[in-house]
Symmetry: C2
Subunit: 213 residues, 2 copies
DNA sequence: TAGATTGTTAATCGATTAACAATC
DNA sequence: TAGATTGTTAATCGATTAACAATC
């Protein structure tokens, strides 16, 4: 009965996050059961993929009723660990940073940006969207003090590495990097890259290809 | 000599976008030649992957000097079609939308957001970061008039499908979707998904896993 | 029961990695 | 020449797809 630690793929983690939000909405709408193909159509995947993902976290359904929404949601929340919540630090309070502060509301249950940092002394000391902005020098002590685990890098590419190093030194184990540059971090730190310019250029490329219509 | 149309992978397109920006910077720094591993370390990939990508667009280097930076940059620009430029429309001028207006400057050479739209009449008529905001009713005529090919969907998930349908009807062939919901569009329209919440939740998951240090 | 769905296994597909000859 | 790099081919790896028995 001692099952092997399930090999959860990285992509599965991302899809579980999406399932979670869909299930949350469905639950509020009063849906109690759903089939894999329903969840697939709400998330843009295939039914088989949904079943694989749920199997990989050890959740089973029945051929008759499909999956129980409430139980599945609990299971995913539990698996992703969103019930506990995690503190997030934002570095760089420029245009992008301010947008992120507005996008991820302060003191949100699962993920909350609880501290922001900027090199510009003008911005330090201000409170934006409920989030306090600190000077760069305070990064390490504040992140340590508040037990922050995740850092968002929203500074220009040239500064990104220094920011990543400082965040890592302060004890962060996950980084979301908006700068279009690779970050060198210790092996125990996870970096996720999010390059909006790349996404837009990709779309533009395909849009141009399909222009002649 | 009639070579087969090279099968360029979707991921390659994204990486070419990143190479392009690195090459642009290197060129300004006066670098004339570079090896695949140099480009790889600047973009977080492997040398073999860089070589595959460049080969796939028919660009070759020499064992002695590597690749010529200027020629490579021209080739990639040409391939991605950035030299011509493409018009982008933004739909949704909330927190995220305004951030995007600030992030992708108006009248940028290759990609410029030349029109924004919002349901809120308050926002329509204003000019943000040099970009004019229109009412939702003007979407189809304005997008058609200005020959806009790409649409950015920055509205809540519930409205995303309607916005996508309108943009498609107006002649857009590429969509960048920030809403966490799949979009049903005609086959000739390309949709790219960018879910910031998913990215952040993924990082948080891995960060928590690695917490015990 | 009949029918749709689940969970499992085998087959397929694509991309990455490894090995190597050719080049300057 | 020696050495590092390029371009090419074969091998490996993983993920997706397809087929099918089990289930309610």
């Amino acid at each position: 009965m001692c099952s092997v630690p399930a090999p959860i793929s990285e992509k599965t983690i991302g899809r579980l996050s999406l399932y979670r939000r869909v299930l949350d909405r469905l639950l509020r709408e009063g849906v109690e059961n759903l089939y894999s193909h329903q969840l697939a159509s709400s998330t843009g995947g295939t039914a088989a993929q949904v079943r694989r993902d749920l199997m990989s976290i050890g959740f089973t359904g029945s051929p008759a009723r499909g999956y129980r929404v409430q139980e599945l949601l609990n299971r995913i929340n539990d698996f992703l660990g969103v019930t506990d919540g995690v503190g997030v630090a934002l570095v760089g309070v420029g245009n992008l940073g301010r947008a992120l502060l507005a996008y991820f509301p302060y003191r949100r249950p699962s993920l909350s940006i609880i501290a922001a940092f900027d090199r510009d002394p003008e911005r330090a000391g201000r409170v934006i969207n409920g989030c306090r902005c600190y000077a760069m020098e305070e990064l390490v002590p504040v992140v340590r003090e508040q037990n922050i685990l995740v850092g968002i890098v929203a500074v220009p590419a040239a500064e990104a590495q220094n920011v990543a190093t400082a965040l890592t030194e302060a004890g962060v184990t996950g980084l979301l990097n908006f700068a279009p540059t690779p970050l060198r971090v210790p092996a125990h730190v996870r970096v996720e890259y999010l390059d909006m310019t790349m996404s837009l250029e990709k779309v533009a490329y395909f849009a141009r290809q399909r222009k002649p219509m």
